[in-house]
Amino acid sequence: MTADWELPIAGNADVVMVRQRVRSVAVEVGLSLIDQTKVVTAASELARNALVYAGGGLAKIEVVQNGARQGLRITFSDEGPGIPDIEQALTDGWTTGSGLGLGLSGSRRLVDEFDLISAPGKGTTVTVTKWAR
């Protein structure tokens, strides 16, 4: 299956929706239970970041191929204020909100590929990929 899903993130219920969709696609792609849980958790963090810090955004879920390996790629994009210092934002324990400050840095560790594009005033796009083993 190579169908894409685009889900809007506008409220807490949408974060749950993203999580459920990611889980079902992860099962389809053949991720192990541990990897499923990891990618679902990362998706939950990033979707909530888009909601909390940018007031909402869009999650795009796609199935990707690399030779014989299948993977799951999720792109979170928002048009929020952007991140001025990406390195600082990726430091454990750093937060401008009231969370634990582990969402962004932790998500990076939960997935195989992590790509963050952001500039002040230009919104943020985070792309994560998890490959089936």
Partner: protein
């Protein structure tokens, strides 16, 4: 309103009044609704037209009632709107018979009015549905967070599903209240039914544990499955000195031990085990 439009409107009113029996009969056939209800709505429509179209409160009330009644009977909201739109068709036959330009022009105005009313029934249907969903969500919040007593002095909170701020609030309140009511010194928060533990869930859990501790109770988090443990470690969440257990049984055993209760299997079972080993 121009004089023309006013004349056209009055002509429709006249037609509605003069041909009441015929139009109502046709409408009942088209709408497949009870004649009584439609007659009432028809009368309300006539009287509100008399008082100027801005006063539609009575009519809207009746239509909301119709929408509710039909929803109960299993009609879809589209069916109900279609029933209201049926009045246009019923009137059109009379307008066609009249044939005058005033009646035709008035029909356009009337048809727009009926469209609004039809959409109103649809709207009141969705409003009613939304209220039901909201009520259910609230009830679910209450239902899904029981605090159960496992033993004298040991209570447990089995958490199932998504843990958001609103639910954690309810859970925490209930847990703390139960600690006061029962005087329990041990609390077990079981997350077997929580599909994913992200930083928000973890933060909520940590807060609940700290709050319980402030009240003098010892808290154990149980139901940490392998994939959850893996994820928590990778995320970098620290549970500090909070006791965590893989299963609710382990947590209960731990709490029993901590409160100085020993569980001893009866002798008969031991003999059975021995024979099996031989």
């Amino acid at each position: 309103m121009t004089v023309d439009a006013d004349v056209a409107r009055r002509r429709i009113e006249e037609l509605l009044r003069e041909n009441e029996a015929q139009i109502l009969h046709r409408w009942t056939l088209i709408a497949k609704a009870s004649g009584e209800e439609l007659t009432e709505i028809y009368r309300a429509l006539l009287s509100s037209l008399e008082h100027g179209s801005s006063d539609l409160a009575d009519l809207r009330g009746l239509l909301a009632e119709l929408s509710r009644a039909r929803a109960r009977q299993g009609f879809t909201p589209a069916d109900t709107s279609r029933a209201v739109f049926g009045l246009k068709e019923a009137l059109y036959e009379v307008v066609e018979g009249d044939g005058g330009p005033d009646a035709m022009r008035g029909f356009i105005w009337f048809s727009r009015l009926i469209d609004d009313l039809g959409l109103f029934t649809f709207e009141s249907y969705t409003t009613a549905r939304e209220r039901i969903i909201l009520d259910q969500a609230e009830q679910l919040l209450e239902l899904s967070t029981p605090v159960v007593k496992l033993w004298e002095g040991i209570v447990a909170v089995p958490l199932v599903g998504t843990l958001d701020s609103a639910r954690t609030q309810v859970v925490m309140e209930k847990l703390l209240q139960t600690l006061v009511d029962t005087g329990a010194e041990h609390a077990v928060i079981d997350i077997t039914g929580v599909p994913a533990v992200d930083t928000q869930v973890a933060q909520h859990l940590l807060k609940a544990v700290v709050a319980a501790r402030l009240m003098g109770a010892e808290c154990v988090i149980s139901g940490i499955r392998p994939q959850i443990a893996h994820t928590i470690v990778t995320l970098g969440i620290e549970f500090g000195d909070i006791v965590t257990k893989a299963s609710l049984a382990d947590a209960l055993a731990y709490a029993l031990r901590r409160s100085g209760i020993e569980v001893i299997a009866p002798r008969a079972t031991r003999i059975a085990v021995r024979t099996e080993n031989v």
